[in-house]
Symmetry: C2
Subunit: 348 residues, 2 copies
């Protein structure tokens, strides 16, 4: 059982309180990619597991790395250790993570490719991930929330079209051309994402985050049709089955269009990578972010100043402290600790 820091006396989760706009005892905090290679204890488990994917699909070890950061740091939530490419992998596309390189994923570029894909529910991949969720939930005390997640359709589709590459040119061209197979792929990912997030909630996830890392690629009607509408459909679908499950949407790089994300019915919080203005957002919306992970490479004095700036700029009852991206490889775990302490100090 993980019972860290000052939060341990509480029985309610500050993260869930803020997400539901209930008075929270403190500013909730977690970090994207908080479980990962910058931690020596992660690297040790990873060695046992074998490949990155072996670790994702090993519930015992995946649960262990999910809770590792909470042993070190006084955080308010664990995020499931998995990958956004679990969904296309579970759908039947071959997937490999070459060491030191990006993923290599089978491609979908036609209706025939799409027709070969299977539903994720009941696959070994999704079953194992849900086992990780259940195991992890059992290891966290009540004040620590467990966050599930998936990739958003646009982002996941762009990897499926590009074969795992982060180059989204081919996906963007298909989107602009409104290729029938591409639109059908987005619809299909909406459905699978609803099922996948629902399965995680059934297994014990208490909030979910949808990662649309490449949302900033699109504008105008393409943003509307391939980012906003699919996100809205997922949120509606998940909420239909889990009405009280808080949903965080991280649509990276959309700039002023964050307002459109925040206006999606049912969204509880938006993730913000860089600047944001609460004044621009509906009252019910919580913001999550936005310490630059590169600031963590610049040392403890730098992060202390950045934390003060962020905490003083946003009401702690509407804020989830987080990074703007994932923690970078090479980050000193002591600096992560300094961030946590600085946030706690700011809120006194």
């Amino acid at each position: 059982m993980i019972e860290t820091g000052k939060g341990a006396e509480a029985t309610r989760s500050a993260l869930l309180d803020v997400l539901t706009r209930s008075p929270a005892k403190r500013r909730p905090m977690w970090f994207m990619r908080q479980a990962g290679r910058y931690l020596p204890e992660y690297r040790s488990v990873r060695e046992q597991a074998g490949s990155f994917l072996d670790l994702c699909y090993n519930p015992e070890l995946a649960a262990e790395v999910t809770v590792q950061p909470l042993r070190r740091y006084d955080l308010d939530a664990a995020i499931l250790f998995a990958d956004i490419l679990v969904v296309p992998h579970a759908m039947g596309l071959p997937l490999k993570f070459a060491e030191g390189e990006g993923p290599v994923l089978g491609t979908v570029r036609s209706m025939e490719d799409l027709d070969r894909l299977r539903p994720v529910v009941g696959t070994l991949e999704v079953t194992q991930v849900c086992r990780t969720v259940a195991l992890t939930r059992g290891r966290l005390s009540a004040h620590l929330a467990l966050i599930g997640f998936c990739g958003a359709p646009w982002t996941v589709a762009s990897y499926m079209v590009g074969g795992g590459s982060s180059d989204r040119v081919m996906a963007k061209v298909a989107a602009y051309q409104r290729q029938e197979w591409f639109c059908a792929l987005i619809d299909r990912l909406v459905k699978e994402s609803i099922d996948y997030l629902s399965a995680q909630a059934d297994a014990g996830a208490q909030a979910v985050q949808i990662f649309d890392s490449w949302a900033g690629d699109l504008v105008g009607t393409e943003l509307e049709d391939f980012v906003i509408k699919p996100l809205a459909a997922i949120v509606a679908g998940v909420k239909a089955r889990h009405p009280t499950l808080p949903v965080i949407v991280f649509a990276r790089g959309v700039g002023m269009a964050q307002r459109r994300v925040a206006a999606i019915a049912g969204v509880n919080a938006i993730g913000v990578e860089t600047e944001f203005a609460l004044a621009d957002l509906p009252e019910n919306i919580v913001v999550q972010g936005n310490l630059d992970p590169i600031a963590l490479l610049a040392g403890q004095d730098v992060v202390a100043a950045e934390v003060r700036r962020i905490c003083s700029s946003v009401d702690r009852q509407r804020h989830i402290f987080n990074l703007g991206h994932g923690i970078r490889l090479g980050t000193d775990p002591a600096v992560v600790g300094a961030v946590v302490e600085a946030v706690r100090r700011c809120d006194g």
Copy 2:
């Protein structure tokens, strides 16, 4: 003398009219990287010239490629053919463009490195670029504006710190740590940029654009100190010498902070890569953008629809039609022509 299309009967430049908020006869239009490898006539001149840098420093040939797009398309402006790394090169850093790869630039990572750099005014590099400006201006009829440009301090500094790499981690760490040499480098680039843009204006540039391609890297006080303030200092310095010279600032990826860019005294227009809302900007500010260059890879029907969307969303008296980034290699010149025709058709 280049006298293209419908604009040729005019003696005033629609671009300069819009930039100075005077009634313009039509929506001005130009494209970032409009002179370049997608054009066969460019490739032919480039072969004569030798390397990319040889072409940049050959006024006769650089002027020729600067005007080439205006022979093909009914545009309102030419943009000087040069590179943002001309400034560090003129300051004395070695620079090479390896074919098919990025630039390789000497590094600045200490006060000693900085002390070795020389002023750009009077260097062969800047002299040749200004000759290109003068030659080009002489080849354009009155209704066609010539735009000069430089890179912004943050963007240019990030290449100088990173040795030409587009990885800005080292520069960001130096910025966060407020390294003395880094702050001095930014100040130095402000001064050199003012001199460089002024020299271009003296040679015949009628408007200038400052490219801050990596502005979106920074937030908060770092955005203020390394993006906004240096941009403001350049604009003030240039306007002190050339009070009527319109200045366009393209601070890519800053999202909602475009409002801070638009609030810089003396800025006439902001370049916008993706979404923008005129309602958020001061009345005197013109927006420039924002057709996605990848839409041009998706064919004529796609661009026609995108052009309609953009033109109907922004008042043509406050808009300069452009792309959100540079034209991509592999773009069909006929599709660029279709964009131009679609813009003219929209404004009837």
